[in-house]
Amino acid sequence: MATVLERVTKVVVDRLGVDESEVKLEASFREDLGADSLDVVELVMELEDEFDMEISDDDAEKIGTVGDAISYIESKIS
């Protein structure tokens, strides 16, 4: 079973077309990974599908970095 980090990394790589090595915990989707605001919305949608969960608009707004996404998901699935 892939870890949350691996699964998030795959979604980010697929969605944003970045190299796996760029997907670091502190990487900001917008500033470091070249996402625009709509890309971030789509990324959150794909994470919802990947982890079969709903992320509210309020929570989604707080997800700015790869690490934010991982710790949010871990807090919900553990």
Binding site: L38, E42, M45
Partner: protein
């Protein structure tokens, strides 16, 4: 062969008037249609059976467009039944006419909630599906009075003008995902809404229309088919005036 075979369209306020004509016209081009209604279930079911007679598929779904949970249920029902939402037609609308000096706050709120907030909620609810599909068409039914203004309809006019602004913004936000968003501004169209008007008002209306007749619901419905089809793949953010030349 129809222009919309295999596509699924959600039409709000489709049990009568312009919405009904839109639902039937989309179906005649082969689309599956979700016939939304708020109160008139019997009429909505009648539209469904007329669509089935045309050889297309349809379901009737009750929903209040100004309520987000209700709207979510409507869109979920559409996806569950047909697997996609390719076209959303925001048509549902009401009137509560009064002069500004006499207009009650409730009259203002009801019209804004259904005619403007309803468009926002339905649009928001389909974007997720359309973004995943990487395609979609949203067609908002505004009104020519939203462009011209009309005494006695401050609430309706404000909502319909708002719909044009919302159309342009939605078009800009979603263009990169191949979701095209346009509006139609009908002039005076023969429906129950206009049938009830007194003769003298009707004749003064006719005097303002270069084509000197009221429009038919089908005149609007055919434009919706155009905007929903591949024929309109290079336009977004526009408002088509279908008003017999009333405003130019």
């Amino acid at each position: 062969m129809g222009k919309l075979v295999g596509k699924t369209a959600v039409v709000t306020g489709a049990s009568r008037g312009i919405g009904r004509a839109i639902a039937l016209q989309l179906a005649s081009e082969g689309a599956n249609v979700v016939v939304n209604f708020s109160g008139s279930e019997q009429k909505a079911q009648q539209v469904v059976s007329e669509i089935e007679q045309l050889g297309a598929k349809a379901i009737a779904v009750q929903a209040n467009v100004s309520d987000s949970d209700s709207v979510q249920n409507l869109m979920s029902a559409a996806v569950e039944q047909f697997g996609s939402i390719d076209v959303l037609v925001n048509n549902a609308g009401i009137t509560r006419d009064n002069l500004i000096m006499r207009m009650k706050e409730d009259e203002w709120d009801e019209v804004i909630n259904t005619n403007l907030k309803g468009v926002f909620l339905c649009t928001k609810a389909v974007t997720r599906q359309m973004m995943k599909q990487r395609s979609g068409r949203i067609i908002n039914i505004s009104s020519i009075v939203g462009v011209m203004g009309n005494a006695g309809q401050a609430n309706y006019v404000a909502a319909k003008a708002g719909v044009i602004g919302l159309t342009k913004t939605t078009a800009r936000e979603l263009a990169s995902r191949n979701i095209l968003v346009n509006a139609i501004a009908p002039g005076f169209i023969t429906t129950e809404m206009t049938d009830e008007l007194p003769e003298d008002i009707k004749s003064s209306m006719l005097n303002q229309i270069p084509l000197a007749k009221l429009g038919q619901p089908e005149d609007i419905a055919k434009a919706v088919v155009f905007l929903a089809s591949d024929d309109a793949s290079y336009m977004t953010g526009q408002t088509l005036h279908i008003d017999g030349g009333m405003y130019m």
